[in-house]
């Protein structure tokens, strides 16, 4: 986790070996966030979260930044919409 100094925290989710890591990302509740999705695999992925209303294509070897508002405490899904067999992950705000 990195703190940008403007009350916004940055977290990283990595995609490699056909799965996301970490599978469960713990974040603080009620704080604006940035999640950097790094695609370390050779596959193109679409990072998507239904509950957070986000979707972004990430090319192999590239990364994208997903801005999130301050989240209420709870669990928010994320998955790779291009590969339905990739295990779904969760962002858990506490």
């Amino acid at each position: 986790m990195t703190n940008t100094g403007i009350n916004e925290k940055i977290f990283e989710i990595r995609f490699e070996n056909h799965q996301f890591s970490p599978q469960t990302l713990m974040v603080p509740a009620n704080t604006p966030l940035k999640v950097v999705v790094v695609n370390s695999s050779r596959e193109r992925i679409e990072f998507e979260s239904f509950s957070l209303n986000r979707e972004k294509v990430v090319e192999p070897g590239e990364s994208v930044t997903v801005k999130l508002p301050a989240l209420r405490a709870g669990s928010y899904d994320f998955f790779d919409d291009f590969h339905q067999d990739v295990p779904e992950g969760a962002i858990v705000a506490k």
């Binding site: 986000r54 294509v57 930044t65 801005k67």
Partner: protein, 279 residues
């Protein structure tokens, strides 16, 4: 004699005005456009359908903008959308229709560009844009040959609830009404993300007439559609709703059913810059 001529012109003008009433509403596409666009390199195949269960028996009334009446009409469109960049998509439409007692026939076409500005959460309200050129089979389905439409897209998320508004500004380029000003209509929606397979929503569609000369309230069209939407197996997305007309100028009952499928087909442009705002 003069009175007869005047009455004839008045009737002709009245008929033309009546035909323009439905113009700000697009019955081939009961869909609310969100801020997000089709991802770069992804193609989306979609069919939108709306059946007028209880409509009007005369042309130019309700959702009918041409000489054919809306009662029993099935509006059927096919759309291919492609994500050009991370912020802009392009789409082609084929509009078909089955009028009451008739067969499937071509009704018009559309092309459009749609984009989003900046990234989500950068502004207090996420802002996008929509530009469309449409042409129709005249006079059966519309009395305007070509129309240009612009919509700003505004979206705000409150947790799992998204509020979207698409005010519509439409100008006739050729055909009846080309010498008139800009028409105003709207599309709006409240969508709650409950479950990926099934979520509820409420959608609103309507038109008020020319910006500088709105139609009488009763002749305007306003609809509210309770909808369910979500994702079926194999990634097929659906949106089903029943629309109720709120004025006498509206059709009374419309059933809509939209299906779409997204597939990555290959990007022709490179990734948009993270700090970009337009492309």
């Amino acid at each position: 004699m003069c009175l007869k001529v005047a009455l004839r012109y008045l009737l002709l003008f009245g008929a033309a005005a009546a035909l323009r009433c439905a113009a700000q509403l697009d019955p081939w596409e009961f869909e609310v456009y969100p801020y997000s666009t089709t991802p770069r390199g992804v193609a989306e195949f979609e069919t939108d359908n709306a059946a007028v269960v209880d409509g009007h028996a005369a042309g130019g009334q309700g959702t009918a903008s041409g000489t054919l009446h809306s009662q029993g009409m099935w509006y059927n469109s096919y759309e291919v959308t492609y994500g050009l960049t991370d912020r802009i998509e392009a789409a082609l439409y084929l509009n078909m229709a089955v009028p009451e007692g008739g067969g499937l026939q071509w009704a018009g076409d559309k092309i459009r560009l749609r984009g989003r500005l900046l990234d989500q959460e950068t502004l207090p309200v996420d802002v996008g844009w929509y530009l469309e050129l449409e042409w129709h089979k005249t006079p059966q389905y519309d009395d305007a040959v070509r129309e240009l439409e612009f919509r700003p897209i505004l979206e705000k998320d409150f947790g799992r609830l998204s509020i979207v508004a698409n005010p519509k500004f439409e100008k006739v380029l050729a055909g009846t009404g080309h010498d008139q000003g800009v028409e105003f209509g709207y599309v709006a929606g409240l969508h709650y993300r409950w479950a990926r397979s099934l979520s509820p929503g409420l959608e609103f569609y309507g038109g008020a007439g020319l910006i500088d000369r709105a139609e009488p309230a009763g002749e305007q069209q306003h609809y509210v559609f309770p909808v369910v939407w979500g994702e079926l197996p194999r990634g097929i997305e659906y949106n089903f709703g029943i629309g109720c007309g709120l004025t006498r100028g509206s059709d009374h009952l419309i059933v809509k059913f939209n299906l779409e499928l997204e597939r990555f087909v290959g990007a022709i442009l490179r990734a948009s810059p993270e700090r970009g705002w337009l492309f």
